[in-house]
Every structure is written in C-alpha cells, then in structure tokens.
C-alpha cells in the first residue's frame, strides 16, 4: 500500500541543517496496522507527512498503491490525499466555528460529484461509527478531548480512505479516552481493512497493533511483528 525507498529528509534553515530522516526504506502492505515509536524529534511526524503527501522528501521515492509519487502537481497530490488518505492529529485540528457535522463533512466538500444529501448521510454514518450520533450539532469547544478526537476520526474515515495516518492520536488524552480511540482504530482496521500507520508514545497501544517500527535520530532502528500479531493470527 505504501512503499518508501531510500527516503532522505533534510530541513535546511539559514543557520542549521537538520537531517530529519535518513535512508528510510519501508513497505506497508494493504490492511496492516503499523505503529511507529521513537523519542521526540526523531522524525516520526516527518515520516507521516511524507507518506501523507503533505511534504516532499529531499531524496527517495514514495509509492502509494503501487504509484510512484514524484513531480506531481499540487492539484494531483490534493486529489490523492482526498481519495486515498485520512489524517488524525494529536491536536485534532477541528475547525471551531463549524459544528461537529460540518467538520466531518469537510473532506467531501473537496470531492466532486457528491451531493449535499449524500455527504450528510455519510457524515452521520461516520459519526455513528465513532459513537457520536448524539453530538452532531455541537461545536468542538463543547466537547471533551476524547470526543473531539472521535470527531477527527469520523472526518478521517468519511471519505472511506484506504489509509489512515494517525500522528499521536492519543497523545493529549488520558488512558481511558485513549483506549476508546485505540479501539475505534482497531475496529476500522479489522472490519473495514483500512491500512493504518499510527505514531505513538504508548508501548501498550503499540503492542495492540500488528507491527512496530522504532525510530531513532531519523533512522529505523527496529521493525518487528508484535505479540498481538501472533495472537491475532492464531
């Protein structure tokens, strides 16, 4: 589903040059739930941004669904993000001036040929999936952190993307709420076959996914199936 070949990312500022990623090679097959761990500043977000076509690698090749992404126009990249990718962020990135329902509908506004009624229906279905059917008319500021993240997940899945990229989705939540979010993601992966790449600091969460990749200083240091994987497949 996602393949990274010899990915190099260097941030160049006036005074310093930061190597955020160095020689990263990864293949994430369809339907896999992968977690990424590593200390702060080791390049996890940069990795997700490159997979999510929000940032370009300095060197190397990104392939989504077997399609090498290079020299794509901004419009084409936006189109791929809209069709194939869903994002979940640590700080939710909800638009506070829009209701829960309007926030969830957002990705479909950038998709042509979906009627307003269909968009509404899909948004309600997505909210049902994350258990927020009763909060559609609320505004983000009226919700708890866990509820906000559920809205963000509903927004990520309304377009039925093949891949969801989650950057520390439980980072701002207590363990109970974190657990809820994790279960929703696990469900998505198991029932809908969505490929998920999740950055986390929580070892327990990571162990619930199939595969765990560890980063240090911009480089992969380990990549292994988890116990959950063995358990799951038995």
């Amino acid at each position: 589903m996602i393949t990274l070949k010899n990915i190099e990312k260097v941030y160049q500022t006036k005074t310093i040059e930061t190597v955020a990623l160095h020689n990263v090679n990864l293949h994430i097959p369809k339907g896999e739930f992968v977690s990424v761990m590593g200390p702060s500043g080791c390049g996890k977000s940069t990795l997700l941004n490159i997979m999510g076509l929000l940032d370009e690698p300095t060197n190397g090749i990104v392939e989504i669904d077997g399609l090498p992404i290079s020299r794509y126009k901004d419009k084409e990249l936006a189109h791929i993000r809209n069709q194939k990718l869903g994002f979940v962020f640590q700080s939710y990135h909800l638009i506070n001036d829009l209701s829960v329902l309007d926030n969830v509908e957002l990705p479909l506004l950038y998709r042509t040929g979906v009627s307003a009624a269909e968009t509404r229906r899909l948004a309600l279905t997505a909210l049902e999936k994350v258990g927020l059917s009763a909060r559609t008319k609320h505004y983000p500021t009226q919700l708890s952190g866990g509820q906000r993240q559920r809205v963000a997940i509903a927004r990520a899945l309304i377009g039925q993307p093949e891949i969801i990229l989650a950057d520390e989705p439980t980072g701002n939540l207590d363990s109970v709420m974190g657990e809820e979010i994790m279960n929703i993601l696990l469900n998505l992966n198991r029932h809908d076959g969505t490929t998920i790449v999740m950055v986390t600091h929580d070892e327990n969460m990571a162990q619930k996914t199939e595969r765990l990749i560890r980063f240090f200083d911009g480089q992969q240091v380990s990549d292994a199936k988890t116990t959950a994987f063995d358990y799951q497949k038995v």
Partner: protein, 392 residues
C-alpha cells in the same frame, strides 16, 4: 462550497461583526456620494433648452430713485444699443437670468390644481437671444398687446404637472392676486439654474414696458455676433455710460456665469469624493489588516484543509470567497437601508439615479473586497501544509 462559506462566515459573525459594519457604512457613504454624482451627471447630460454662446449680460444700476427718470434713461440706452452692428438681438430680463444666482417663483392654479413654478420675466426678443425652441404653440409678442391676460410660455415640466394629457394652449391660470395668465406656448426644456440642476416647472412672463409703468428692469441680455470680445465690450460700455451718467454698468458673459454655477455644483461633489476616497482607503486598510492577521490565526485550518484534499488554489479561492461573502452580508444590510430612498422618495430624485448609484456602489465594494483579499489570500494559499499542521 458556497453554502459552506456562508455557514463559516455566519458562524464567525461575532468576530466578523466589525468588518461587516465597516463594509456597511462604507457602502452607505459610497451610495450617498454616488447618488449625488449620478444625479449631477444625468442632469448635465440633459438639454438646457437654450444656447448661451455669445450672450452677454449687461447689469445696470441707476444712481437715482426716480423710476420714471430711470426708465427714460433706460429707453435711450436701449435705443443706442440697438444701433450697434455687433449686436444681433437683446432682451431685458428679471434678475433671474440664465446662470444667475437668483430665483423667483410663483404659485399658480389651474382648476383644482396648484403649482409652484419659477417665473421668468423677459422681453419679447428673449426667444431670439437665447434661441428658445417652442415645440407647441408660439412665443409671445406684439400680437398679445390687446389680450386681457398675461400671455405665458411654459416648459414641459410644468405642463406635465398641471395639464397631464390635456392641451395647455389657451388655458387660463390664476395667481392668488387674481391675475390671469394664458398659455400661448410650450418649450421642451428650460434649465437656467445650472447644468447640474434638475428641470423644474417654470414659465416665461412678458415684460411690457409701456404697461408696467412702475417696474424697472436693469438686466439686459445681449446676443452679440460671433467673435466679439473685450474690445467691443469696452466700446459699448463707454458709449452706454455716456447716456446713463453715474450708472454702474457691468458686463459679463453667460459662459462665465455658467462656469461659476458649475463650480458651485462641483466643489461639494469633489470634496465629498475626496472624503469618500479617504474613508474607503481606511476601510480597505482595516480589511486588509484583519485578513492578514486572520491567516496566522487560521494556520491549523489551512493545513487541515490541505490535508483533507484542498489544493493550494482552492485555499486561495476560499479566502477570496469568504471576503466576498463578508461583503455580501454588509451589502445586504446596506442595500436594505439604501433602497428606502427610492421607495420612500425621501428627496425628489428619480429612482433610476438611486438604482445606478446602488449598482456602482455594490460593484465598487466587491472590487474593494477582492482587492484587499488578493494578497492575504495568496499568502494563505502559499502556506506549506506540513508547516501549518506542525505541532510541538
């Protein structure tokens, strides 16, 4: 997407309130100034109803209080003036000559109907001096000497208000002192006040020196042959002053008087336009500032939209669109207010004037909005999504 923008602006109405109010006031001021300009320009483009080229106005002030004596001297002066080769025609007039700063009106009635109309007292040759075109009936003259009524020529504006479909010729009008006037002719237009003034109902009444014994008229309109200048003016004044010894005589051209009148209309128009431009600049700077400031506040939103599938150009269009929607809110309020002027007929101005001003003002506000949004929107579109979404 448009619905989405309206929703977004509507939900942000609290923070957008100031901008909407600014646009609202900006629109109203623009509308007011444009109404004035459109009104003036439309009047300017209408016919005056006379030709003022080569017409001079000789103003004479006698030095005695004896009307009889003054009339005698005036008679001699006019006799002498008629002798000049350079003069084509001339006519005495009341002080409300074309482009003069003087008005006179009278209330006349026809049957049940009353009208307040400008009265222009002129001698028979006025129509030749001013090249008046009588479209219906005739101008007055010697043939009216025997009439029991005052023969008058009215303008179309007066005819429409007083007679509507009826033929006005021969109709009798009354003044409250029970004098009777009889309509003998109609002219299409007569707008002597200024090129920028709307046509008002008015009528010409006849100066008949032999009959009006107690009256003295010191304003003489003179049509000179083309090409006459200061030289002839000096010669004429010198000779006429020889007859009216001690009289003050001043000559001015109607062209000069026209320019003076135009200035009176233009100065407030220009002053208001300048004030308006400053106001708009102010609003524009404010609008630009707020939009600019909003971009940094909306970093997260911009990044998010890019992530869920908005291309950079769509972010650009969204920001422009938002400002247009914002302007639309201000305009809806503004138009609701402005439309009262033609609806309630607050001033006696044609509705068309308001509608044109309304259209131009709306266009200008949208242009202003786009102009202010252009650069901030481009800036918003240029924000790198990964940067915008970056979190520590």
């Amino acid at each position: 997407m448009i619905r989405h923008l309206f929703k977004l602006i509507w939900n942000r109405k609290r923070s957008n309130f100031l901008l909407i109010t600014e646009i609202f006031f900006c629109f109203l001021v623009l509308f007011a100034v444009l109404s004035l300009i459109v009104y003036n320009v439309r009047n300017y483009n209408k016919p005056l109803g006379f030709e003022h080229e080569n017409v001079w106005l000789l103003s004479m002030r006698p030095d005695t209080d004896s009307t009889a004596l003054n009339r005698q001297t005036l008679e001699q002066i006019m006799q002498r003036a008629k002798g000049f080769q350079e003069i084509e025609s001339m006519a005495l007039t009341n002080s409300n000559a074309p482009f003069a700063f003087s008005q006179m009106n009278n209330q006349l009635s026809y049957g049940e109907k009353m009208i307040m109309a400008n009265e222009y007292l002129v001698q028979d040759d006025f129509d030749k001096v001013m090249r008046m075109q009588v479209s219906h009936g005739r101008w007055f003259g010697q043939q009216d000497n025997a009439s029991h009524h005052y023969p008058i020529v009215i303008n179309r504006a007066m005819q429409q208000q007083l007679f509507e479909g009826e033929d006005p010729l021969g109709k009798l009008l009354h003044r409250n002192d029970s004098s009777n006037y009889q309509v003998v002719g109609v002219v299409e237009h007569y707008r002597p006040s200024s090129e920028y003034t709307a046509e008002e109902p008015g009528f010409f009444n006849r100066i008949q020196l032999p009959r009006d014994e107690k009256d003295f008229y010191g304003e003489l309109l003179i049509k000179v042959k083309p090409g006459m200048g200061v030289e002839f003016e000096e010669k004429m004044v010198k000779e006429l002053s020889g007859i009216g010894k001690g009289w003050t005589m001043e000559v001015t051209t109607l062209e000069k008087m026209r320019q003076n009148k135009a200035k009176v209309a233009k100065v407030p128009m220009i002053a208001l336009t300048i004030i308006c431009v400053f106001l708009i600049l102010n609003v524009a700077l404010g609008l630009f500032g707020v939009l600019w400031y909003n971009i940094s506040r909306r970093n997260s939103e911009i990044g998010l939209r890019r992530a869920v599938g908005a291309a950079s150009s769509q972010v650009y269009r969204q920001f422009i669109g938002e400002v247009l929607v914002l302007a639309t809110f201000g305009l809806v309020l503004g138009v609701a207010f402005a439309i009262q002027f033609p609806l309630l007929q607050v001033f006696e101005v044609e509705s068309t004037v308001y509608l044109i001003a309304l259209g131009i003002a709306i266009g200008l506000i949208y242009l202003l909005a786009i102009g202010c949004a252009f650069y901030p929107s481009r800036q918003a579109a240029a924000i790198h999504p990964a940067m915008a979404l970056h979190e520590e």
